[in-house]
């Protein structure tokens, strides 16, 4: 580095805080003003600051799996609207599923930033609208049944709103007030980022800003290279399978191979299933995101801002037409499920290479039960995302897995309080509890899943796309699998209906019927017989593990009356192993 640049390392550090502050402020602004619960509770959105070419400088999460969506959208926008035709006051909009890699509910707004007449960067936000039209219940088999498609176009042209476009949107969604409220919040978010960026630009100037962007990305790249270099070279593979696509009753194989060679890591996704008929497809952007999310978790989880320099040593091989690189007109509505299992499978592949960095498998599903109906009070249409209950995470080399936590697709996502749900919907939640015995046994135990039982007080449509009900969250190094996700319906007359692949399509829950949703537990790590007996006893006393499981899985015999360990029988079991 030149000596003048060394001095500018100080400005770069000051500006690094500035970049983070810009996206933080955009995030807070959007979160606090959005209308729909998916944005304000589930944080199903991301905001970002990008350089002139659309490379990520800073992302305010939101969802980890959104890591590529905005950047790829900015790059596509530049193909249709090159720098020289962009004008101050323009805001671009799109929900093209094959650009964002996800479903049509994701609306992306992009605002170009200028110095004089030159584009020098972008602010952008991608957020989930609760409804974008299309078929309401059941499964879709192509994109056209999933709602309104907005190609990349100008929502604002030099500050003037495209009213026709807004009218078309309002005409095509079920709740225009909600949609336009979220649109306003997104407009405010990209403009907030714009305002803050111009303040930094005025204060530090274009050169210092450009230098700081470059400096931030280069340092991230160096950090990643050093971390990859520390991983033993080799080719590592793993596979697992998804339950099915909801149309054809057959599992969907997920196979990944990771090659580490010096400072480079190559993730090869050629072994992932072809695109499917049902709506579980996602686009190339989502496939790339899955590789980048796994890479970030293993290589540089805590540095901020999240920027594209981090991925410099990462190469992804991803042919077209896989289930995570689907082509039009593949159905995409439930895009998010498969990529998160891809992330977990990459962890699984790398377990032999980095045993202290990867956890055992997690429940890997949002566990959403989608309901809609007419509210008896007020007689209005409502749509409610039930579920979203979190689940168990895998154990690690030195600690138990966490219980009841949102899956890897999401981040600072909150569940909805029971009291809030019961205020809004004609439902009563009868149980919201940890799922005992669901954590995979191991020297370190997997985290517990959650049980939610919800009864409807008025007829309601129910759709559920619970996945990974068959291939349970795996254990590592002798640890056992956790319990898989599961859904059953409980009719008013007391009868149970179990859904073996977790897919409930356009069923009706009549008044008095209920669903019981079980999220999976995390996999265990290491031989369960190596778990300290007193820790097993403590788990039993607390009810995380039953006496039966203690004996069967851990070889620890506990007397039901005294709740003490039977030492003789325990050592017999453990030695006789």
């Amino acid at each position: 580095m030149k000596s003048a640049d060394k001095r500018r390392a100080i400005d770069a550090e000051v500006l690094r805080h500035g970049f983070i502050a810009i996206t933080e402020e955009m995030k807070i602004n959007l979160m606090r003003t959005a209308y729909n619960m998916i944005i304000y509770e589930a944080l199903d959105f991301t905001v970002g600051l990008f350089d002139r070419e659309g490379n990520t400088i800073s992302i305010g999460l939101g969802l980890p799996m959104f890591i590529r969506g905005m950047s790829e959208t900015v790059k596509e926008t530049l193909i249709e609207y090159p720098h020289e035709v962009m004008r101050p006051g323009d805001i671009f909009i799109t929900n093209d599923a094959y650009i964002t890699g996800s479903h049509l509910n994701h609306i992306v707004l992009t605002l170009p930033l200028f110095e004089n007449e030159n584009v020098i960067g972008f602010t952008s936000t991608m957020a989930h609208w609760i409804d974008i039209g299309g078929v309401l219940n059941g499964i879709t088999k192509d994109i056209f049944s999933e709602g309104l498609q907005i190609p990349i176009c100008k929502l604002f042209s030099e500050g003037v709103q495209n009213d026709l476009l807004v009218k078309i949107i309002a005409q095509n969604v079920r709740d225009p007030d909600l949609a336009l409220g979220d649109l306003r919040a997104q407009i405010a978010a990209v403009r907030t980022g714009e305002k803050r960026f111009y303040r930094l630009l005025k204060r530090y100037g274009h050169d210092a800003l450009t230098f700081a962007m470059k400096f931030t990305m280069e340092r991230s790249a160096e950090r990643s290279r050093a971390a990859v270099k520390a991983i033993p070279d080799g080719r590592y593979e793993a596979e697992c399978y998804m339950d099915g696509d909801g149309v054809v009753d057959k599992p969907i194989p997920i196979h990944v191979s990771v090659e580490v060679a010096g400072e480079r890591m190559i993730v090869d996704m050629s072994g992932i299933s072809e695109q499917v008929q049902g709506f579980y497809n996602s686009g190339r952007t989502a496939g790339l995101s899955a590789a980048q999310v796994a890479f970030t978790c293993l290589v540089d989880p805590l540095s901020r801002p999240i920027n594209d320099g981090i991925y410099e040593p990462l190469e992804v091989i991803l042919p077209d037409r896989t289930v995570v690189s689907a082509l039009k007109p593949a159905a995409m509505r439930w895009w998010m499920t498969i990529p998160m299992t891809v992330v977990d499978t990459i962890f699984k592949a790398l377990a032999p290479a980095m045993p202290k960095s990867v956890p055992a498998g997690h429940h890997a599903d949002l566990a959403i039960v989608d309901m809609n109906g007419t509210h008896p009070q007020g007689c209005h249409f409502y749509r409610c995302l039930g579920g979203l209950i979190g689940g168990g995470w895998g154990a690690k080399w030195n600690s138990d897995g966490m219980s009841a936590t949102i899956c890897i697709n999401d981040g600072d996502t909150h569940n909805a309080p029971v009291e809030s749900m019961e205020l809004k919907y004609p439902h009563i939640i009868e149980q919201h509890a940890l799922r005992e015995d669901s954590g995979g046994a191991g020297k370190f135990r997997g985290g517990l899943g959650v049980i939610q039982q919800r009864r409807v007080l008025a007829d309601s449509a129910i759709n559920a796309q619970i996945e990974r009900t068959q291939d349970a969250p795996w254990g590592l190094f002798g640890g056992m699998a956790g319990s898989a996700n599961k859904l059953e319906l409980l009719r008013k007359d007391g009868s149970h209906e179990l859904y073996p692949t977790g897919k409930v399509l356009d069923e009706v829950l009549a008044e008095g019927d209920a669903y019981i949703l079980y999220s999976g537990g995390g996999g265990g790590y290491g031989d369960p017989y190596e778990r300290l007996t007193e820790i097993v006893l403590d788990d039993v006393r607390k009810g995380y593990v039953t006496i039966e499981s203690a004996r069967q899985d851990y070889g620890v015999v506990i007397d039901r009356q005294t709740m003490e360990i039977n030492l003789t029988e325990t050592s017999g079991l453990r030695q006789g192993k």
Partner: protein, 679 residues
């Protein structure tokens, strides 16, 4: 204690117990003087106050009002030294406390940790009953209560927390269950959620009531000891505790609502700032407190501090939430002791690791070798090695230079002074973030605010921070190093009450609210402020809007809506006047004003104070300039100083940059108008 009118305290004392020192401050209304003393915290409170008073020539029996700020609640919670506690919830929901909100704030950290409950699962019990927001579904089941009592008899707990669903609307079952448990267990501390908060969200209410029960018996004991000590010392005045919102409460209320004491220290600083601004007839300001390990910022808007309603014990990622009114304060891990270093990839970082008090910054000469923000200030001559720190600590310039040289200058190939300036710049950038978090992120423009800086390091950084944020004016109050104790002199008894109501805004609903407001007022005292948390129908998050009782009485729905639209526009830079809005939570805050001290005028001097000495100070990286150093005690009222200059006192130093003009206010405040690019 319900009384109105104005009390006249002749002597008012405040005591702020910190980790190392107890600050005692006494105001004598007769002679209008303020006296301060610092006593090691190791002594018991009564004795510390007595000793402090002796140092200030006052007698203990003459104190009319004693105000006490304590860290007993937060320490017991952070160190997990509360009592064994049981939790009782609605059947089916005992795990809500462990499940929490399922979020992972550090999205990419697969080694994340969640909050750890204060009550382990075997002590989380359930009872059969059920409410919905609008009706009772299941009565409190008698046999289930008997079973519960039998289980509780067999476990060793000193406190019991109760959380039943929807008790924020209808607390009937909580009230009746608490009564039954009190009869069964008269010596156990029992707390029910509706007594502490009436807002929806069962996890946060559970966490609040458990935290309260967990510290209840400890606070009980602490207060009983204090009262006994005070009685023994013939104290017969009013005794108050400082709540996290800056208001005072009496001992019996503090015993019931212990959790309201969780953040009393920082709150007092904001109350002090509020009074400084009143004394200067300024409406809005930022309270900025920079100490050794952290910097904190709070906001006074139109003479009122901004209050938040949720607090996390420790931090957001793993902290347990508490629903209680707390000063809206944002904290960053940057202070005088923050360590500067260069990463292996050539990046400069400052903090959040701190050198603490031992070994402390290298310049303390206790063997510290890491470069800190304080060392950078010493190297730049802004803290002069000619002046002992806090009156007694000689600064070691050579050690500071060597630390900066080794940790930052050499790895980055910079001169020592360039490196020191860089450290200060980065520290200022992170601290500016704490101020923007409480202003810009709340829709407020920092340029509309003055910066009131205190804490040991605040005055030294204030003029730079204000420039960073485009603020034009800085105020350094008297005794900035012990300002939190100072703030206690100004606190008034204050009660907050709130109720989640979820109401449309139309004339008849609005008129219906009056009954609830009256109930809330009865729960409080006098000098009423009413506000409503409002949102557009369909939104989740709310903004707080002040409500005039006239609006309610006359059903002026459109005026209230208009006011909400304005607040929303200001906060989030957009609004939707055509969209319907609703009220979610009503809040009433009631205060009692008392005769408080003014800031006493500083003594007249015959002539303006002259500088004590001139020393070289680095303000830019090119060269050092000779800068005059003034002792604050020498300065005369209305005297004007131009920057660059340093004004030093025992507990802090104030830096004036080129173009800054400082006026010495007759009551001792230093008012600085920023020059050059700052204005």
């Amino acid at each position: 204690m319900v009384s109105t009118g104005v009390r006249t305290d002749m002597i008012r004392a405040g005591s702020d117990i910190g980790g190392t020192f107890t600050d005692v401050i006494v105001y004598d209304a007769e002679v209008k003087s303020i006296r301060l003393a610092k006593i090691p915290s190791s002594r018991q409170l009564g004795q510390a106050v007595l000793d402090g008073l002796a140092l200030t020539d006052s007698s203990f029996g003459s104190i009319d009002t004693l105000v006490h700020g304590s860290t007993v609640v937060i320490n017991a919670l952070l160190e997990r030294k509360g009592v064994p506690t049981a939790l009782v919830t609605t059947e089916g929901f005992r795990d809500v406390y462990e499940i929490g909100r399922i979020n992972r704030p550090d999205s990419f950290n697969i080694f994340f940790e969640k909050h750890t409950p204060l009550v382990s699962r075997e002590l989380r019990l359930e009872v059969r009953e059920r409410m919905l927001p609008d009706r009772k579904v299941l009565d409190l089941d008698e046999s289930s209560v008997r079973q519960l009592i039998s289980t509780l008899s067999s476990v060793d707990v000193d406190a019991i927390a109760i959380l039943l669903l929807h008790s924020f609307v209808n607390p009937e079952h909580e009230i009746s269950l608490k009564k039954k448990l009190q009869e069964a267990f008269p010596t156990r501390y029992i707390s029910a959620s509706h007594e502490l908060t009436r807002e929806y969200r069962e996890y946060e209410r559970t966490s609040t009531v458990v935290a309260n029960a967990y510290v209840g018996p400890i606070v009980d004991k602490y207060l009983a000891k204090l009262e006994a000590d005070l009685a023994e010392l013939q104290f017969s005045g009013n005794f108050y505790l400082v709540q996290s919102n800056g208001g005072l409460i009496g001992v019996s209320e503090a015993r019931r609502n212990c959790i309201s004491l969780i953040e009393s220290g920082p709150a007092s600083g904001v109350v002090g700032t509020q009074e400084v601004l009143k004394d200067l007839h300024i409406g809005s300001g930022v309270a900025f407190d920079m100490g050794g390990t952290t910097a904190k910022a709070g906001v006074i808007e139109n003479s009122e501090p901004r209050i938040g309603h949720q607090y996390f014990i420790g931090n957001y990622n793993t902290g347990l939430p508490v629903l209680t009114p707390v000063m809206d304060i944002h904290e960053v891990g940057t202070g005088g002791g923050s360590i500067a270093f260069v990463t292996e990839f050539g990046e400069l970082r400052v903090g959040p690791q701190s050198a603490g008090a031992d070994p402390g910054p290298a310049c303390y000469g206790f063997g510290g070798t890491k470069a800190t923000v304080t060392d950078a200030n010493v190297v730049l001559g802004r803290l002069s090695d000619k002046l002992p720190l806090a009156g007694s600590l000689e600064l070691d310039l050579a050690a500071a230079k060597s630390a900066i040289q080794e940790s930052v200058a050499r790895p980055l190939d910079l001169s020592i002074e360039q490196a020191a300036l860089g450290i200060i710049q980065v520290a200022n950038a992170t601290m500016a973030y704490s101020i923007s978090a409480v202003t810009i992120e709340r829709g407020l423009a920092p340029s509309d605010f003055v910066l009131v800086a205190y804490g040991g390091a605040g005055p030294l950084h204030a003029t730079q921070l204000a420039r960073e944020l485009g603020m034009g004016k800085v105020i350094i109050p008297p005794s900035p190093g012990v300002f939190s104790a100072y703030g206690m002199l100004f606190s008034d008894p204050r009660a907050f009450s709130s109720r989640t109501v979820i109401t449309a805004i139309d004339t008849s609903s609005l008129k219906g609210l009056r009954k609830i407001i009256d109930e809330l007022i009865l729960e409080s005292i006098s000098s009423i402020e009413v506000s409503a948390d409002m949102r557009y129908v369909g939104q989740e998050h709310t903004v707080s809007v002040p409500v005039d009782l006239d609006m309610v009485d006359m059903g002026l729905a459109s005026e209230l809506k208009k006011r909400f639209d304005e607040v929303h526009e200001r906060t989030y830079s957009h609004s939707a006047p055509e969209e319907p809005a609703q009220i979610v939570t009503l809040r009433v805050s009631a205060g009692m004003s008392s005769d408080k001290p003014n800031f006493p005028p500083i003594p007249d001097k015959e002539a303006p104070g002259q500088s004590r000495f001139v020393a070289d100070v680095w303000l830019t990286e090119e060269s050092a300039l000779p800068v005059p150093f003034y002792a604050r005690e020498d300065l005369n009222k209305n005297q004007t100083l131009s920057g660059p200059a340093v004004i030093f006192e025992e507990t802090a130093s104030t830096l004036l940059l080129n173009g800054d003009v400082a006026d010495i206010h007759p009551n001792g405040h230093i008012l600085i108008n920023l020059g050059g690019e700052g204005s």
